[in-house]
């Protein structure tokens, strides 16, 4: 539940536009936060970590249709600046295979990049507090806290959108009974002349019901994600500890002959 699985045309235009605007601003700021030479070197890393997240997302936990996101792991590896463009890349690819709306790419980028940046910040703070031997606990706790915050962001975004921006025009449908009335029953002409579309009063958004569902289902996902994140971080910290403690951006070597350009 960490990103919006809301289709296109449901959220109001002002909210979608604001999402795109904020997305452009944070991506621009994040990209400018990395020196240009470093940024060029990091493009394959951004691609590889985005691909890793997509690989993890392609493994579903079937009964609840939940998939692992690895956003906190990616945040730990990439740090705050590179997390933002990576989030945009992942969300764009997902939208193109129908996983989340195209128009909500901006809002989804905000949510996912917040998850990556917050995950990185909490993990770093917890490792400093708990000590390096407890990276698993730090990763698990950081993941649960991060997902709780971003799920709240999701609820706030939906609440800001207000009642679903879709009218209740029904044509031959009876919205109360969800029953299709045969338009030929009294002749098409009669239908046109006499049948008025059902009038509907604007009902308030059922935000409490939505929040209950998202927190209820989401909390199962938080635990699953936290266990996987803790497992992966624990595994990597045994094999290559600097990767989780310093980040992947500190791992790259400089090729002979490349020092002049990137040194």
């Amino acid at each position: 539940m960490s990103h919006l699985h809301i289709p296109d045309g449901i959220l109001p235009i002002w909210l979608v536009s604001a999402g795109w605007l904020i997305c452009i601003v944070i991506v621009t700021v994040a990209v400018r936060g990395v020196p240009p030479e470093d940024l060029r070197r990091r493009i394959p890393l951004v691609g590889a970590v985005a691909a890793l997240m997509l690989v993890a997302m392609s493994s579903e936990i079937v009964p609840i249709a939940y998939h692992i996101n690895l956003t906190v792991v990616a945040g730990i590896l990439l740090g705050p600046w590179l997390s933002v463009p990576t989030a945009l890349v992942v969300v764009t690819v997902l939208a193109m295979i129908g996983h989340g709306g195209v128009t909500v790419i901006g809002l989804n980028t905000i949510v996912i990049s917040s998850e990556m940046v917050l995950g990185w910040a909490l993990f770093s703070a917890l490792v400093r507090t708990l000590g390096r031997p407890r990276v698993r606990i730090a990763a698990g706790v950081a993941t649960v806290l991060t997902l709780a915050v971003t799920t709240t962001m999701l609820v706030v975004i939906v609440a800001l959108g207000g009642p679903i921006a879709a009218s209740r025009e029904s044509g031959a449908f009876d919205p109360a009974e969800l029953r299709f009335e045969n338009p030929f029953a009294e002749g098409v002409i009669g239908n046109i002349a006499f049948e008025e579309p059902a009038a509907h009063e604007e009902e308030p958004l059922q935000i409490a019901r939505f929040a209950l569902l998202v927190y209820g289902l989401g909390s199962i996902g938080w635990i699953a994600e936290a266990l996987v994140t803790a497992g992966i971080v624990g595994f990597v910290s045994r094999v290559r500890p600097s990767l989780v403690l310093d980040g992947a951006t500190q791992q790259e070597r400089v090729l002979p002959g490349d020092e002049g350009v990137h040194g």
């Binding site: 699985h5 296109d8 449901i10 970590v49 249709a65 463009p85 129908g98 044509g171 996987v228």
Partner: protein, 270 residues
């Protein structure tokens, strides 16, 4: 989501949609998406979805994975609709919109190789985003293959069966950790290769030449009709609501015609 299946269809397919230029398909996709966005009538949206399935059948595209991918957002939309929609009709509309937009997206992705989808927009994006989109594509298939191999090896070593989900989950987590290490090494090797080949901060994708101008015109015209129809129903509001069965009927006809055309083509091919 089986991303490999998407790539095989996009690169090896030979339908009229495959022959259209990616830029044209992107415009048609944008128009179709606009139609979904502006539509507020369930029957209009369902009619559009049936038309898209009809195109899928006529082009003999792999229906099962495409429908499965398009239905996936419908599942989440149903949860959202259940929780937030004021009535069942609105809920049904939310689900129909999600599935129809998903169908339009998978039609694009199953008929266009991934790099070609992003090539037209790449020049407008910052290099880190445009190039990273292409690098993601390259890395994705390598990592998927690696993950599959590592997972099989882990299961064989541990003698895991389907009846031991916790041990399987642990093996899957360790496998993801291994793939993570591999992905970091892969990114370094990729940069080395790019550097040796003279990478200057911008990857270039060769544009696909126009080989089916008539198909492109037909595609754009159809997308234009779709968006005009949806816009008409939106703008006229209640006046056209009683006629909403017409787009639904057109959708049904398109589905039948598309299925028959697909079957006939299959027969001729044999």
């Amino acid at each position: 989501m089986d991303i490999r299946r998407v790539d095989i269809s996009a690169t090896q397919g030979e339908s009229a949609l495959h022959r259209c230029r990616p830029g044209i398909k992107l415009v048609a996709f944008a128009l179709t998406l606009s139609a979904v966005i502006v539509s507020v009538n369930l029957l209009v949206v369902v009619g559009l979805a049936l038309c898209l399935i009809g195109v899928m059948a006529a082009m003999r595209l792999p229906a099962r994975p495409m429908l499965a991918l398009a239905a996936y957002p419908g599942l989440f939309a149903a949860l959202f609709a259940f929780a937030a929609a004021a009535d069942r009709l609105t809920g049904a509309l939310v689900v129909a919109k999600a599935v129809t937009a998903g169908l339009a997206a998978v039609l694009l992705m199953f008929t266009t190789p991934y790099p070609q989808v992003f090539a037209p927009v790449q020049r407008f994006l910052p290099p880190v985003i445009g190039d990273a989109l292409l690098m993601t594509y390259r890395s994705l298939f390598l990592l998927l293959e690696k993950f599959g191999h590592v997972l099989i090896a882990a299961r064989l070593r541990a003698g895991l069966l389907a009846g031991s989900p916790i041990r399987s989950a642990k093996a899957a987590t360790r496998s993801l950790g291994t793939v993570l290490l591999y992905s970091i090494d892969l990114s370094q090797r990729t940069y080395d290769v790019m550097h040796l080949r003279g990478y200057d901060g911008r990857l270039v994708v060769s544009p696909q030449p126009a080989v089916a101008p008539m198909a492109e015109v037909a595609l754009l015209a159809a997308a234009g009709v779709v968006v005009v129809t949806a816009g008409l129903w939106r703008l006229t509001g209640s006046a056209l609501a009683p006629f909403a069965w017409i787009p639904l009927g057109i959708g049904l006809v398109a589905l039948i015609v598309g299925t028959v055309a697909g079957l006939l083509t299959a027969k001729e091919t044999r």
